[in-house]
């Protein structure tokens, strides 16, 4: 007796005025896993993007880097494949699988050509359910991560961003390097890896987006096959709010002709109702292409830098605004002052009506670029679910943008941006 009721919904996404419609389906499998799918037969391939909430933030204290190490080992030997068999099987069957961990989530991408669908999902099943973590491979991957940490430590821009995290976040859990340190890596045992593996791949933390040449019933079958046996367990995101953040500046001396500066202040979480408004302000200030105020003033008008930017770094419930630039040692002071002055301007005067209008059309127009490849479609479907933006997000999005009012935006700018609370991490030989 098989009486299965599938929760089945179809949404139509309208983009632009160009009557562009894509059918997206919100599906639920027999084992209760929800996912979104856009079926697209234009090429014989399938792309999937998935993530589990809870990333490197869950590394136990002193075991920094264990989540990253675990995800790096998922293709290094499973129940039915040795590490090298796994890789050859992947090559032979046109399969792409990658895992990565960021602070808040473990992410995976998976692609397979249509004629090898079964082989592809089989391999993914092995990684998610049957990873073995052989001692030899652990040793090998550890030595690779250590080498990459040393390379990072030779490179001024990664040094600056790691040091920024270390000193900016007073919450040590968040400030840690997701790769860990040479010291913490040495203390990580096979048991540590195994235990984070078992506790991370939990059904309730999973979100999935799929796009490509696969129909809903087959997609459901494979999603169940790969993820259906994972256990269930409620999850609470540990980054609910940020403890104190540093202000002022810190200098680390390094022999180099050019200084790297990374700066930041408190921002907003992705689920904050003002998030889109903050995004618009930042777009005008330091985001988006070659039109931002920081770009125009500091690069174009004064030639002080090659690159300068700021962006919102949102966690689910909290966030920061981060920026950066490089400039030669004697210009560091001037450039920092210019950043602060742009920060003050946006706080005091906000953005203009034209800037708001241009930002609105940017966000509306740029959305269709997400639909150019199956992987970018899958990632979008994943991320909209990850942040619980809702099944009507694609319809709602333009309205959210249209509804943004200049005075509300500028009130937020006043509240959020504060040049006094900026923290500058300065690495190099600055003359200031």
């Amino acid at each position: 007796m098989r009486a299965i009721f599938f929760f089945f919904l179809t949404f139509i996404i309208f983009l632009n005025k160009n009557s562009f419609a894509i059918q997206f389906e919100s599906l639920k499998t027999k084992n209760g896993i929800k996912f979104w799918l856009i079926e697209d037969k234009s090429l014989p391939l399938v792309s999937m993007s998935f993530s589990f909430k809870g990333g490197s933030i869950l590394d136990p204290i002193g075991k920094d880097g264990v989540m990253n190490l675990m995800t790096s080992l998922l293709d290094e030997g499973t129940q039915n494949f040795t590490a090298s068999e796994y890789r050859l099987f992947k090559r032979e069957n046109g399969i792409k699988i990658s895992f990565s961990s960021s602070k808040e989530r473990v992410e995976g991408t998976f692609q397979v050509v249509k004629p090898r669908l079964q082989e592809g999902f089989y391999l993914l099943f092995e990684s998610i359910n049957k990873a073995r973590f052989p001692i030899n491979e652990i040793k090998k991957v550890k030595s690779q991560v250590k080498a990459s940490i040393k390379i990072d430590n030779s490179n001024i821009s990664t040094i600056a961003s790691n040091k920024f995290n270390e000193f900016f976040f007073k919450d040590k859990l968040i400030g840690r390097n997701t790769k860990g340190t040479l010291k913490t890596l040495s203390t990580i045992s096979r048991d540590d890896i195994e235990s984070i593996y078992k506790s991370s791949f939990i059904k309730d933390r999973l979100v999935i987006g799929i796009s490509g040449d696969i129909d809903p019933s087959l997609a459901k079958k494979y999603v169940d096959y790969v993820f259906g046996d994972l256990k269930s367990e409620k999850f609470k995101n540990p980054i609910s709010k940020l403890k104190e953040l540093s202000e002022g500046r810190k200098i680390i001396k390094m022999k180099t002709p050019q200084t790297t500066v990374v700066f930041g202040q408190k921002g907003l979480g992705r689920k904050d109702e003002d998030y889109f408004a903050a995004r618009v302000i930042n777009y005008v200030l330091g985001g988006g292409g070659f039109q931002s105020r920081l770009y125009k003033e500091i690069r174009e008008a004064n030639g002080l830098v090659y690159s300068i930017y700021s962006y919102l770094m949102p966690y689910e419930y909290a966030g920061v605004i981060v920026g950066g630039f490089q400039t030669r040692n004697e210009n560091v002071g001037t450039t920092i002052e210019k950043v602060k002055s742009e920060w003050k301007k946006i706080k005091t005067n906000g953005i203009t009506k034209t800037e708001l209008q241009n930002a609105k059309t940017y966000y509306k127009g740029s959305f269709s670029r997400n639909f150019t490849s199956t992987m970018s479609i899958a990632s979008l479907l994943m991320i909209v679910q990850y942040y619980d933006l809702g099944e009507d997000y694609f319809r709602k999005r333009d309205l959210i943008i249209d509804d943004l009012k200049l005075n509300e935006i500028n009130n937020l700018a006043k509240k959020l941006f504060d040049s006094e609370s900026l923290f500058f991490m300065i690495v190099g030989e600055p003359k200031i």
């Binding site: 992947k90 046109g94 250590k146 022999k255 050019q258 292409g289 030639g303 090659y306 150019t372």
Partner: protein
């Protein structure tokens, strides 16, 4: 960010778009400009790329960095679309844009909603000849470029090492000169240099236009004629026929810097290119992929997994060049070893791979992978434009691309072994060591 220097271009190259409904249309405008249209209606988005068939290679001696400098200045506005108009407009409609300069070409691209096609073509065509540059533009931008050089090269010992290695590997050819330019020569570039470079080279007959995405063929033809077709042609791109002498000696370059925490070994070869020999280049690409690409490669398998001498080893072939191509190898040794020893470990392994470890089975796996990769390469709007634009700019033909899969099918294990043998015996290389 604007301007990406392709010093080491990690763009794995393999394609075959033959006999597909996505196969592109090519036509020539009266002024000599080539236009390629690649239709893909998945999303209402179009990518426009314009490929100029010159890069740092046409700079006269003493003026290195001029082509890249010019690329930056192409964003400074025209009479019709002054100052920031172009970039502002693209942002406003939700598009994205960028540009990059290489030894052999300079390319500009935008990705935008399809409703903007006409305006984008109009603006891109306009800046081919109507740029209004001021001395102030040039002086400020020179500072930006010096910062770029500091950021990409001077602050990065690994890039400085690459720069030295290339200057030795190509003592005569322009491939030995950095694309971004030597610092002292950038400092010497003038407004007049820039202006005459622009007027001499930015011509329709030196360019290939690629439109990829939700584009209608007839409409694209009409617009190409209207905007690009009316630009007067100029003299053809200068061709510098310079080749390099055989090195035939072991050259080691050592870069020591106090900030280096992880020693790295590298080896650069001068090799054949797709332009000089398509068939052998495809074989070399396949061979290098089996021997050195990623964690499934034989070098990795034998030296990292089994013998545990290195924590990383790999390499690749870059043959989309007008002059000679390159093979790059790199390794990170677990224990400190002299670079000559690392070299002999790798080369001995290379020998054994050619002799025994490269089996017919392994070769067949790679052939399949090659085929599947061609499907992935069509997924997107910019990627296909990039592949066609680059291939045609360095001198391949549409026919070469059409016959790609056929050529792949015809390659045998022996063909691959033969080109790997040649690489093994190739004396034109430089070995580099990064340490502290």
């Amino acid at each position: 960010m604007r301007s990406v220097l392709f010093i080491i271009f990690l763009f794995y190259f393999s394609f075959s778009f033959s006999n597909e409904k996505t196969s592109p249309h090519l036509f020539k405008l009266k002024n000599g400009m080539d236009v390629i249209i690649i239709e893909n209606k998945r999303a209402p988005v179009i990518a426009q790329m314009i490929w100029y068939n010159f890069g740092s290679g046409i700079e006269e001696k003493g003026k290195s960095g001029l082509a890249h400098f010019m690329e930056h200045l192409m964003f400074k506005g025209t009479r019709k679309f002054p100052d920031n108009y172009y970039s502002n407009y693209i942002s406003k409609v939700g598009g994205s844009e960028n540009a990059f300069t290489s030894y052999d070409y300079t390319a500009y691209y935008q990705v935008f909603p399809k409703s903007e096609l006409k305006k984008m073509m109009k603006m891109e065509a306009d800046r081919m000849t109507n740029l209004t540059l001021t001395k102030e533009n040039v002086e400020i931008e020179k500072r930006v470029i010096l910062e770029e050089r500091f950021q990409r090269i001077e602050s990065d010992p690994s890039s400085k090492l690459d720069e030295s290695m290339r200057s030795i590997l190509f003592p005569n050819h322009y491939y030995g000169r950095p694309i971004i330019g030597w610092r002292h020569e950038i400092e010497g570039l003038t407004y007049e240099d820039v202006l005459s470079f622009y007027k001499d080279n930015y011509k329709p007959n030196n360019a290939i236009l690629v439109l990829s995405g939700d584009v209608d063929l007839e409409k694209a033809k009409k617009l190409s004629k209207k905007y690009y077709g009316k630009i007067r042609k100029g003299k053809k791109e200068k061709k510098l026929k310079v080749t390099d002498p055989d090195l035939d000696t072991n050259i080691f370059v050592k870069m020591k810097h106090s900030t280096v925490k992880q020693p790295i070994w590298k080896k650069f070869y001068r090799t054949i290119s797709y332009k000089s020999d398509v068939q052998s280049s495809i074989a070399l690409d396949m061979g290098l992929k089996i021997v050195a690409s990623g964690t499934a490669s034989l070098l990795y398998q034998n030296l990292v997994e089994e013998k545990k001498i290195f924590s990383v080893v790999g390499g690749y072939f870059q043959g989309l060049t007008k002059g000679e191509g390159n093979v790059y190898l790199y390794a990170i040794s677990k224990e400190k070893k002299p670079s000559s020893e690392i070299d002999s470990i790798i080369m001995n392994e290379f020998r054994e791979i050619i002799n025994e470890k490269l089996t017919p089975k392994r070769f067949e796996i790679e052939k399949k992978k090659y085929f599947f990769d061609t499907i992935y390469k069509k997924d997107g709007v910019l990627n296909p434009a990039q592949i066609y634009g680059e291939a045609l700019t360095v001198g391949l033909t549409l026919d070469d691309i059409k016959k790609w899969q056929e050529r792949v099918d015809n390659i045998s294990l022996n063909d691959v072994k033969k080109v790997l043998e040649e690489l093994y015996d190739n004396g034109n290389y430089v070995i580099g060591e990064l340490s502290n």
